[in-house]
Amino acid sequence: MNTNQAAQTISEKFEGTTVLEFRGEHTVTVAPADFRLVMEYCKNELDFDMLLDASSVDNSGDDPRFALVYELATLDDSVHLRVKTHIAESEEVPTVSDLWATADWHEREIWDMMGIKFSGHPDLRRILMWEGYTYHPLRKEFPLAGKPSEMPDVAFTGEAPLEGGPFVTSAGAGSRVKAEPRAK
């Protein structure tokens, strides 16, 4: 089985699944309702033994707002597959930490940074920030400088001075001078 076959198999088996091929990489986008079933199928039938990474994207302004991105691989590293699903802000996503143990911490990080909840997760605590911190810092509406918060005897945060920032890199702006990070 190669990556293309794996992607086609999934799209045939699950309705509403789209396959995107870009430079030899295959991405299947599945409906949130099918997400758990697709992942089970990948693990049990298609032998994707390894979850390389799980991440999330905040497409602020779009509906549904968030995208979850899971990178699957076989242990002999011959087949890679990217599984995406789009979910709304209020939705919960079924965990896959029982299929791949490595998803446990990845999903905790997604919860911590983006505020997406995973149903059925055994231990959904924050992993980078502390329990009691009220924000999800990688959401688009969260300012880079941070927001003040206070938890006595645990931690506090303040606002970082940006002095003309935030500094934005403009890739492909022509010259190096124009491309380098500046207040724009």
Binding site: M129, W130, L144, F156, A160, E163, G165
Partner: protein, 196 residues
């Protein structure tokens, strides 16, 4: 000499008594001026003596939090050899440390732990903020990073650099030694004892 002359003109028991007394007196005179001690006595002020002892035996509490800690380790090892300045005794217990070297990025999650270790260090204590991050947050203008450790504890010496070279850390340590040299330690000791 007058005593020995006198003893010549006296005879019997009285003469013996006088001889014994003279021997004791000459011994006392000898003890008061001992040529062996001469040159080994230094007159100084208590302040100067205390400061001298403190500044030449600064035991660091290494608070290595990021890449600055690598330079801190380099400073401690053979090429740069911080022991030339009396600071080679890295103590990983705050109870035994004199100077906390905050080397690296202090995140908000770590900040109160740093403060707690600082509070556990006995007086007198000093703090060196090593590098841009510990001094001001450095390039991390971010929600997660404390913008300078001086928001939490008093800093004596700031060292610039990202990370500073070992020479810079040694320079900072020498600056701290200069600062300690100018302290009024006795007055501080008195005021401390008055408070407690």
């Amino acid at each position: 000499m007058t005593t020995s002359k006198a003893s010549l003109s006296v005879s019997g028991d009285a003469a013996e008594d006088l001889n014994a007394a003279a021997a004791v007196r000459s011994e006392l005179a000898h003890a008061a001026y001992d040529s062996k001690i001469e040159g080994n006595v230094i007159i100084t002020r208590v302040d100067a003596a205390i400061n001298w002892m403190r500044k030449n035996s600064l035991w660091p509490m290494p608070m290595g939090l990021a890449c600055c800690a690598i330079e801190l380790m380099a400073t401690a090892s053979s090429r740069f050899d911080i022991s030339r300045f009396g600071s080679e005794v890295m103590r990983f217990s705050p109870r035994q440390s004199d100077v906390m070297i905050v080397a690296g990025t202090v995140t908000y999650k770590m900040a109160l732990a740093v403060k707690r270790v600082w509070d556990q260090m006995p007086e007198p204590k000093w703090c060196i903020a090593m590098g841009a991050c510990a001094s001001s947050g450095g390039m991390y203008r971010s929600y997660a990073v404390l913008q300078g450790i001086d928001q939490l504890l008093p800093v004596d010496v700031y060292i610039s650099g990202c990370p500073p070279r070992p020479e810079a850390l040694i320079e900072g340590l020498m600056k701290l030694q200069e600062k300690i040299d100018g302290e009024e330690s006795t007055v501080d000791l008195k005021s401390e004892s008055l408070v407690s």
